[in-house]
Amino acid sequence: MLKSPSAALLLGAALLVAGPALAAGDAGKGARVFKKCAACHQVGDGAKNRVGPELNDLIGRVAGSVDGFKYSKAMTEAGTGGLVWDETTLDAYLESPRTAIKGNRMAFPGLKDADDRADVIAYLAKYTKQAAAPAPAETKTAESTAAPAAAPAATSAPAAPAAIPAHGVYHLGREATTDEVAAWDIDVRPDGVGLPEGRGTVAQGEVLFTERCATCHGDFGEGTGRWPVLAGGRDTLKADRPEKTIGSYWPYLSTVYDYVRRAMPFGDARSLSNDDVYAITAYLLYLNDVVTDDSFELSRENFTSIKLPNEANFIADDRTAEPHYANKAEPCMKDCKADVKITMRARVLDVTPESGKGNEGTTKVD
């Protein structure tokens, strides 16, 4: 099964690029660039695996092959699929780690500057014993990949005089490409507008949830520590301590899909596939007893048929009808009440930071 097509593409790129496309980097400058990497990676004498694997003898190494380092499935598969680190593959990977090998764990946005990449690769090559032949490049040219053709130069260098666009009043900005809009416009509405093609079952969702979500949200959506509770809480909205979960409070299922896809897992957003999000959403429905069959499959086709129990309980803002606002009365100035007594004191509870008590309140913010 081709689990990581992007890695295959990357490998393909390595095989295809024969010419002197890459810049010869400056290892000295690369040492400075490497500071961005050093939070997670060590290189040189005594380098150890930390958040990321050690980087000695990197050039020529099979991806995902350092003993004792726990790689993502995606990285291991890239290696078994034939990915070997060299100037070309590293350059592509470092430009955009997340898209180059989809699903890998390196939480680094990438080095957008081609010179930076060439420099840091030259720096890393110094720590490869085989006297890794430097990139077969003669000239240092910042090569741009075949990005969307319409994209203008990223930096602020004055652009060549271009035709003034016809749109609008001020004729500023440029037309967005279809791919650009598709890359960012991932929002989903209750009527299903914005849902992508895809599907996933409760059972698939359980596996994903356990792996990607349960650390914070608990195996059954019960929430660990102060992390959000996702399931349960039915019929508690009028209680002294309401439990506002997907099942007890959220009005629309589309919000679950939209939010998980754009922002979850916390700290690794946009790392789930559309199918993954369908599966996790299906599992959350199951945890909330909205569906009860673990073979249930959620898809774009049946999505809008699912209603959440609390949808009807949301109302419009009617604050101005409250008694204290409604008549906008001139307030009392003299002898407004007979007696004034203190009814509650913050000191009694004392949850103020630095009060030395170390007490905690019950309010939660997430």
């Binding site: 990223a154 749109h167 609008g168 009043v169 001020y170 500023l172 900005g173 037309e175 967005a176 960012w184 416009d185 929002d187 989903v188 509405r189 209750p190 009527d191 102060r226 992390w227 909205l237 309401p242 506002k244 409070y249 959220w250 919000t255 939209d258 939010y259 754009r262 922002a263 916390f266 700290g267 957003a269 949301f314 109302i315 419009a316 803002d317 009617d318 604050r319 101005t320 409250e322 008694p323 204290h324 906008k328 307030p331 100035m333 002898d335 007696d339 004034v340 203190i342 009814t343 004191r345 913050a346 000191r347 103020t352 930071p353 630095e354 309140g361 309010t363 939660k364 913010v365 997430d366």
Partner: protein
């Protein structure tokens, strides 16, 4: 040398710093002892000049008066005096699971006027502070428009600019106090508000550049951060006074305030002021995003929940005296200082009570009175040293009167979390210390 050695927050008499008066008294005493000793050892005493009467900060030449201070550019970007080290944002750790999705509070009790310094503006993130190089930032407009557009920061700077002073208040400000007084300090009870002057361009200009189709009724604003924060905004508001801002108080937005560009939604809850703004989509209905369904909706006692409660209601608080800013000078002339604001416009009047709301005196509004901005009020009074129950009550230009907390609870219950604009009571004790309380 005299120096205020301890400027930490004080909450009790046992930790009170010495006032200038106490210090000088002690110095006078030690001066007397020295004189007594001199009488017994006459020879030595004759060699020393008699101690001058008065405060040594005046009678003795001080180091800063003798030796040169730092030269220019010793701080290329200036910072506050080291004696102000306690004037900082603070957080409440038990409130959140992680600091990346959390909130810090503006130290209102230490500030005056109506403008909040950039470094003290409270923070609220849902996925940490995004660090974005301006040349890598894009703002996209898509959806129901004639031409979907992409702007660079340079493009944005070429639209006509405007400057406006606005308050920004989190809808959850004072949210921890629904069940009663809980946090002892107005930084914590009211510190999710700030007010700065924004420089930016009208959202209207940007949307019209793309051309809004006639069925475009809503705008979805989206951030570029790790939460890709989104909110639906009705088109009327978007075309009215919303700004896309890149400067605050004259300088670039701070990263934690959305550098390089944020949305400004005057008078409406802070959550809508999307930071690191990267996309505006036009649609024909709201998107019902996480921040406008599961959050920022107000649960009532009857189990119903209000949604799209955008406007921030009329509100005020006395910032000093307050629990973190006790009265240190004893009886006599005292200044009550506070802030008032309303999402409905300007503040018309603020009343202050020193007896828990039995009698009220109209306070003096001072400084600029600007639409949807913080207003500063003062009440200058003689403190007789007796206990006080301080309250402030604001009235806005739309005629709305700030309600009591009990009035709010009667209408909404205690589980609303958001939009708690009830009247705050501070209990000033005879020793000048102050506590957060509620009264009958």
């Amino acid at each position: 040398m005299t120096e205020k050695t301890d400027t930490k927050d004080e909450t009790g008499p046992e930790t009170r710093v010495e006032t200038g008066g106490a210090t000088s008294r002690r110095r006078f005493l030690s001066g007397s002892l020295a004189a007594g000793g001199a009488a017994m050892a006459a020879g030595l005493a004759a060699a020393r000049p008699a101690a001058a009467e008065g405060e040594s900060v005046i009678t003795e030449v001080q180091d800063w008066n003798r030796y040169l201070g730092d030269g220019v550019v010793s701080q290329p970007y200036g910072v506050p005096s080291r004696f102000e080290a306690n004037v900082v944002r603070r957080d409440v750790e038990w409130l959140t699971a992680s600091r990346e999705s959390s909130v810090s509070f503006t130290p209102l009790h230490e500030l005056d006027g109506i403008i909040t310094p950039n470094g003290l503006c409270f923070e609220r993130h849902h996925g940490g502070t995004a660090q974005i190089e301006p040349s890598q930032h894009r703002l996209m407009i898509n959806g129901l428009v004639d031409t979907p557009l992409v702007f660079t920061m340079q493009d944005l700077m070429r639209f006509p600019r405007e400057n406006h002073v606005y308050f920004l208040e989190c809808a959850a400000n004072s949210g921890m106090e629904w069940r009663g007084s809980q946090l002892n300090g107005c930084q914590y009870t009211h510190g999710m508000v700030h007010c700065v002057v924004y420089t930016g361009v009208k959202l209207k200009h940007l949307l019209e550049e793309a051309g809004i189709k006639t069925n475009g009724k809503w705008v979805l604003a989206e951030g570029a951060d790790a939460a890709a924060m989104t909110r639906s905004i009705p088109i009327e508001k978007a075309l009215d006074d919303c700004l896309v801002a890149f400067k605050m108080n004259g300088e670039a937005l701070r990263p934690e305030q959305g550098y390089p560009v944020r949305l400004v939604v005057p008078g409406w809850e802070g959550n809508m002021w999307v930071k690191w703004l990267r996309r505006l989509e036009i649609g024909d209905q709201p998107w019902q995003q996480r921040e406008e369904t599961s959050k920022y909706t107000d649960l009532l006692a009857n189990g119903k929940a209000r949604r799209f409660t955008w406007v921030m209601d009329v509100k005020s608080v006395i910032t000093s005296p307050s629990p973190q800013a006790p009265i240190r000078h004893g009886r006599g002339k005292a200044v009550i200082s506070g802030l008032a604001w309303s999402g409905n416009g300007r503040i018309k009047r603020v009343d202050v009570s020193i007896d828990g709301g039995r009698n009220w005196t109209t306070a003096r509004l001072d400084g600029p009175s600007l639409d949807k901005a913080l207003h500063r009020f003062y009440l200058d009074f003689d403190w007789d040293g007796s206990e006080l129950l301080l309250q402030s009550r604001a009235i806005d230009e739309a005629g709305f009167v700030q309600p009591t907390k009990n009035e709010l609870r009667a209408a909404r219950g205690e589980n609303s979390i958001y939009h708690n604009n009830g009247i705050q009571t501070w209990y000033v004790k005879a020793d000048g210390t102050v506590e957060n309380v509620e009264v009958s």
